[in-house]
């Protein structure tokens, strides 16, 4: 009876889950999903790579921690494992919802939870007729968007299944909007249609909030969030070079996040999400020049962390690399500029506690390098404990 870590490539998060499992004394099976051929036939099923038969590993597994990095493979993995009688974290139902920003937003909106104003137009930027003639829909789509969201306020077009800020484009003029709609052709991270959102005045930061539920227990929202901050771009993803800070969450935000988790978890026994949220800031209580200066100082303090992150020793000695990462991060978090920016964020969240909107839920969040170090929550612990709760 065991927990299996299903993954495509063992990146830092997966290495961190292995490392944490060892510390907790939890035995893990490993399923390198990417090149395992699954065969179903009247004789049952087999799961094999070219050189190894994983069928027994599959048979011994009770709960699957689904960490396939590709959203499409993760979805297939959850359906496969559930068809084989395994419990999955997260379930295929949850993966199906979180795969799509629109589906996530619809569930949250239906439950009365705060989301950004969102417009979905099902048609694509262009269509091809049988005679190969191209029909352009960009103007119609732009008209539909502009009828709902004033262009002067900014219209954000998002790839429905994108992450890391990919294919998220801001338009402030009609020309930009048409261009951005043209770029949103059907592809693997935007299968169909075009999603647009109002531009939330999030000032210089957004939030990543961890919520989880073990079987038989109430859902929990961790009281510290990861704030991603910077003025470089309207997107604040860390992937785009923004800095990270701890943010204290007020009680009403914790309650809202738990409601989001329960809504997206849809009655499943156990689940875990990283919710992305923005504060619609009406009260910029601190001079931006001060914050920009502190962010510049903090960026310098962050350089040693980046240096450790890039070191290839993580591939050869994860434990030693992790110790260096934690030491470097501790120096950064204790710097005066970090504390000053953190204080501004904490105060701003408190002042705007009723103006938070949730815009995405991540079912397989990255956590080892940022969320864990910033919030003090090693997400591998609730992941593993939640998986264990499905066995007990």
């Amino acid at each position: 009876m065991s927990i299996a870590l299903l993954y495509e490539r063992s990146e830092n998060d997966e290495a961190g889950i292995k490392h944490t499992a060892q510390q907790l004394g939890i035995d893990l099976n490993f399923i390198p999903f990417r090149k395992i051929a699954l065969t179903i036939s009247k004789e049952g099923f087999t799961a094999k790579t070219k050189g190894k038969d994983y069928t027994d590993v599959f048979n011994q597994t009770v709960v699957v921690l689904n960490r396939a990095q590709s959203k499409n493979r993760r979805l297939q993995a959850s359906y496969i494992m559930e068809a084989l009688g395994k419990k999955t974290l997260n379930t295929s139902q949850v993966e199906f919802t979180c795969y799509s920003k629109l589906r996530t937003l619809l569930k949250l909106w239906k439950a009365g939870l705060p989301v950004p104003k969102t417009v979905f137009v099902p048609c694509d930027a262009s269509d091809f007729m049988k005679n190969h003639r191209e029909i352009h829909n960009e103007n119609d789509i732009a008209d539909l968007f502009q009828a709902e969201i004033p262009i002067d306020d900014g219209i954000v077009i998002k790839a429905d299944a994108g992450t890391h800020g990919k294919m998220i484009m801001l338009s402030k003029t009609r020309e930009e909007l048409i261009d951005n709609i043209k770029k949103t052709k059907p592809n693997i991270i935007n299968p169909i249609g075009v999603v647009a959102q109002e531009l939330i005045n999030k000032w210089f930061y957004d939030l990543r909030i961890i919520v989880y539920k073990e079987k038989g227990k109430q859902a929990i929202c961790h009281n510290k969030a990861l704030a991603r901050a910077g003025f470089k771009d309207f997107r604040t993803n860390t992937f785009l070079g923004n800095l990270v800070f701890e943010a204290n969450l007020p009680t009403n935000v914790l309650d809202l996040a738990v409601k989001c988790g329960n809504t997206l978890g849809e009655g499943n026994d156990a689940w875990i999400f990283a919710l992305d949220a923005m504060v619609n800031v009406s009260d910029k209580h601190v001079d931006e020049a001060f914050i920009k200066a502190q962010l510049d100082f903090a960026a310098q303090e962050y350089l040693p962390v980046q240096k450790v992150k890039a070191a290839e020793t993580r591939l050869t000695d994860f434990s030693a690399w992790n110790t260096k990462l934690e030491q470097a991060f501790s120096m950064y978090a204790n710097s005066s500029s970090y504390q000053k920016v953190k204080n501004v964020i904490d105060e701003n969240i408190a002042n705007n506690r009723d103006a938070l909107v949730f815009h995405e839920a991540n079912s397989c969040p990255e956590f080892w390098e940022n969320t864990r170090l910033v919030t003090g929550l090693n997400v591998a612990v609730p992941l593993l404990k939640t998986a264990q709760s499905l066995i007990d």
Binding site: R9, P32, R34, G51, K52, Q69, I188, I189, T316, S363
Partner: protein
């Protein structure tokens, strides 16, 4: 290390799943080999005295996402 049962191959370990791999002795540095155990693509970083150093390739799929 040169494989005693097959002198035309070197032995190496997959850095991810620890599978024992047999690498052809005419393999060049920077070649990509595949682990038979987990299927992971690995780059040959160095070959010294019959020792093959393999490193996981960093790739990113179009739909890589959280």
């Amino acid at each position: 290390m040169t494989n005693s049962t097959n002198p035309n191959t070197f032995k190496a370990k997959c850095p991810d799943c620890d599978a024992e791999l047999e690498i052809s002795s005419d393999t060049e540095v920077s070649e990509i080999v595949s682990c038979s155990g987990c299927g992971l693509e690995l780059e040959v970083k160095s070959i010294r005295d019959g020792c093959v150093d393999l490193q996981e390739l960093t790739i990113e799929g179009e739909d890589w996402g959280e």
